[in-house]
């Protein structure tokens, strides 16, 4: 028994179904469209939502970039990239500008995206109200009624308890003044990049079987009270030890020899590009 897989793994019918859900998602920004999520050759929770989006969209001319936690070379990114290139034979790149489709887990690249590019984000929990309300039946109705007190209340309680909003990544956003949406666990630092983005942003949750989208140039606002504005992670006066870059999201590291804390760009391809351009200058 020998079997061959179709271009981009799925049969064409499945791809079309996923694209249909994607189109609906684009038409209703921020709304979670249920779709018949397929089992993938990588595990649920490891990026199957993003991968299904990528595979349903990819054509022979596409150039793909896949990153995990800001890194092109992380094991999971490599693993997903391997699957995409193995089943499609398309070209891959680390260069953000070169890519037509960028699949990412937990980061939006530092280099601004351009029109025509598609950013695919992997989502573990697509429901921004899940921690307030466990039932899907109920959260669906809350969205329909635009009833988001739960999400706000969560932030209010944090301020009462800690003096500040203490969300980490995945700080909820309001999309097109209608739906409250989980931006996937990107750091708050990246939330702003979603607002009026040049590129199309698609979000896929494989295990939870939802696709949602932010079409280009859509208004995306991070939830915050008027007197407690939204704040991003602070890397003030921190510089990358490798490229000297600043005002980007940094990884915090400890030098094993000296025991000293140092910083490094989290977006590894940004860091390399910067280094390269400085060397050639």
């Amino acid at each position: 028994m020998t079997t061959r897989y179709n271009f981009a793994f799925f049969d064409e019918g499945s791809k079309r179904e996923i694209r249909r859900a994607t189109l609906k998602a684009i038409a209703i920004p921020g709304y979670q469209v249920p779709f018949a999520s397929r089992e993938m050759p990588i595990a649920r929770g490891w990026g199957t939502g993003g991968l299904q989006l990528t595979l349903s969209l990819v054509g022979k001319e596409d150039v793909i970039k896949i990153i995990d936690q800001g890194s092109d070379e992380s094991v999971n990114a490599v693993n997903i990239k391997k699957l995409v290139t193995k089943t499609t034979g398309i070209q891959e790149t680390h260069n953000t500008t070169e890519a037509t489709i960028i699949q990412s887990r937990h980061r939006i690249p530092e280099i601004p995206l351009k029109e025509g590019q598609i950013l695919v984000l992997q989502v573990p929990i697509p429901e921004p109200l899940r921690y307030v309300e466990p039932s899907e039946y109920i959260t669906k109705r809350l969205h329909a009624d635009k009833e988001y007190s739960g999400a706000w209340l969560m932030l209010f309680e944090q301020i009462m308890k800690y003096g500040n909003m203490s969300t980490g990544a995945d700080h909820p956003v309001s999309v097109n003044e209608r739906y409250v949406m989980a931006p996937s666990p990107i750091p708050r630092f990246d939330n702003g990049k979603m607002n009026s983005s040049n590129a199309l942003i698609l979000l896929g949750a494989g295990r939870e079987k939802k696709i949602y989208a932010i079409p280009p140039y859509t208004k995306v606002v991070s939830l915050a009270f008027e007197d407690y504005p939204f704040e991003v992670e602070s890397f003030e006066d921190k510089r990358c030890r490798i490229c000297g870059g600043k005002a980007v999201f940094m990884d915090e590291l400890i030098d094993e020899k000296t025991g000293e804390k140092y910083y490094q760009c989290n977006d590894s391809s940004y860091c390399l590009e910067k280094l390269k351009s400085e060397l050639s200058a």
Partner: protein
């Protein structure tokens, strides 16, 4: 009863049935029903045909035994249950010209959040037990559109102080509070958005006598200060006597008698009311 004021709330022919009904019982001729129960199909008529008005600044008492339909009526008015049929008009909503039972669920939420407040017999239904008392009040304010933490905190403090919750406990989760305290938090929450109409459902039932007196005093005080209209439901005529200007007596899902509270207490007409009044003496 002639009044020149426009009612805050008009309810007409409210019916709430549990069960499909059948040819025998649907016409609601009372001789076909056994109390509020159809012996043929087993349908229960929680409210058969309830009509009344509430005027600005008055407390309307609703008295009746358990199973008489008082709580069902209150659930319908607060949209906790959908009515089978009937009409209700609130004068501050669309000029009192729209039957609120027929509004969309989004509009019903608006009405709940902005125009009504409710205090349940069981605080679990009215409060989020895992949240602080100030958070509980903020929830109602957030739902009504408030987005300033400072203002909400200020308003919450005022209200909680008003209902005698010590300031140093307002950030504590309400599940740690005693029954009487929880009831007072509920009242503060219901009042937080200055609703024109407050619904109180057996709010003192199950509390010990001194706490009961305390809560009743609070309600009277609030009514006196703020002039909010209220519907107060109780099986206890004593509570009604203390609070209500006018009273409705319910039995088997119907209103059997209504009038000024004094009048009903001194000269009850219906045999059931007579029995009720006698038991009070």
């Amino acid at each position: 009863m002639e009044r020149f004021e426009k009612p805050v709330l008009i309810v007409k022919n409210l019916r709430k049935q549990f069960g499909h009904g059948c040819g025998e019982c649907e016409a609601l001729e009372s001789d076909k029903l056994k109390k509020n129960y159809c012996p043929v199909c087993g349908t229960v008529y929680g409210c058969q045909d309830v009509s009344f008005e509430v005027y600005p600044g008055e407390i309307l008492g609703v008295v009746g035994e358990s199973g008489s339909g008082k709580s069902t009526m209150m659930k319908c008015l607060y949209f906790d249950e959908n009515v089978t049929c009937g009409e209700a008009y609130i004068n501050t909503y669309k000029n009192g010209e729209s039957n609120v039972f027929e509004e969309s669920s989004q509009q019903k939420r608006y009405i709940r959040n902005n125009l009504l407040g409710k205090v349940y017999q069981n605080p679990i239904l009215g409060l989020k037990m895992d949240f602080s008392s100030i958070g509980n009040i903020a929830e109602k304010l957030i739902a009504a559109g408030s987005r300033r933490v400072g203002e909400m905190e200020e308003r919450g403090r005022q209200l909680l102080e008003h209902v005698n919750i010590p300031v140093f406990r307002i950030k504590e989760e309400v599940k740690n509070f005693s029954g009487g305290m929880q009831q007072r938090v509920q009242i503060a929450k219901a009042l937080s958005n200055n609703p024109p109409l407050l619904l109180l459902d057996e709010v003192t039932t199950g509390l010990d006598l001194s706490v009961q007196a305390n809560v009743l005093d609070l309600i009277k005080e609030i009514q006196h200060e703020l002039g909010i209209s209220m519907i107060v439901v109780s099986h206890d005529l004593g509570v009604i006597r203390m609070l209500a200007d006018r009273t409705i007596v319910m039995l088997n899902g119907r209103i059997i008698e209504q009038g000024l509270t004094d009048q009903i207490l001194e000269d009850p007409q219906h045999p059931y009311t007579q029995q009720l009044v006698h038991s009070l003496l």
